[in-house]
């Protein structure tokens, strides 16, 4: 019995009722990506007013950074950057641009961001220890 369970029992005299298991099967991949992106968008600091940012793992070793903002004339601008992780390198592609190899500081920053993404989504969404992948639910 945990400390809080014991405390509750001491105060109320009752056991904590067992919660019904959450129905996870109704979640879709899109739901999960949306939740992950809510975390991913925070990894680079506060999103400026008027900006919308998404940063998420799509699938198949592909990451997406989407940024949307209003320019000085009030016109909406958007930029989608896709990072593809290949065994022999990381590629970056933006709309209408050829592929480029991600190297040096950009690669290190991407790595740090993805580490934090994995760590936070594991703990906050999947309730798992990022190292062992064991459940962290008591």
């Amino acid at each position: 019995m945990s400390f809080w369970t014991a405390t509750r029992k001491l105060i109320t005299g009752t056991e904590l009722k067992q919660r019904a298991p959450r129905s996870r099967s109704k979640l879709t991949l899109r739901d999960l990506i949306r939740r992950e992106s809510a975390i991913g968008s925070q990894l680079f600091g506060q999103v400026p007013a008027g900006h919308r940012r998404e940063f998420f793992y799509l699938d198949s070793h592909t990451w997406v950074w989407y940024e949307e903002w209003l320019d000085q004339s009030g016109k909406r601008q958007e930029l989608t950057t896709r990072y593809e992780i290949h065994p022999n390198g990381v590629l970056k592609v933006q709309d209408g641009q050829p592929y480029a190899v991600v190297e040096g500081e950009e690669l290190e920053n991407l790595f740090l961001a993805i580490r934090m993404y994995y760590d936070r989504t594991s703990r906050e969404i999947y309730k798992r220890d990022p190292l062992t992948q064991q459940s962290i639910l008591a």
Binding site: R24, T81, V90, Q94, P98, F111, L112, A113, L131
Partner: protein, 120 residues
């Protein structure tokens, strides 16, 4: 081409988590066919047992919170292997959530972490 992130006002300068600067966008110059020319077949040799052990240690460190942590500089191919590994773990997290009760693929017998060679 739309405004790039590096030109976008206040975008990168607004970061409040100094340990992670946004990935800056360098000049995009390569043509598709040239992309992997200088990394073709990539001088990535088959990992030795020592490589494996070192990467496992790095992967364990990588799974810890980054705040306040000082990491030894990683080589590019080490970073790439870790990124592939993290992607695989993200896939596993999603699979568990979407398919509760389904058995997971066999895990490698590496204490506490994933065999990066399986992810590559």
């Amino acid at each position: 081409m739309a405004e790039t992130l590096s030109e976008s006002p206040d975008l990168l300068s607004s970061a409040e988590t100094p340990e992670v600067a946004a990935p800056y966008l360098s000049e995009v110059t390569a043509e598709p066919a040239e992309v992997f020319e200088h990394v073709a077949e990539a001088e990535i040799e088959a990992p030795t047992a020592e490589d494996h052990e070192a990467l496992t240690m790095v992967a364990q460190a990588a799974a810890q919170p980054a705040r306040g942590e000082v990491l030894e500089p990683l080589k590019s191919h080490e970073i790439i292997q870790l990124l592939l590994m993290i992607d695989t773990k993200l896939d596993e997290n999603r699979d568990r959530e979407l398919n509760p009760g389904q058995p997971m693929p066999l895990q490698p017998e590496v204490s506490g972490d994933y065999d990066y060679r399986m992810a590559a």
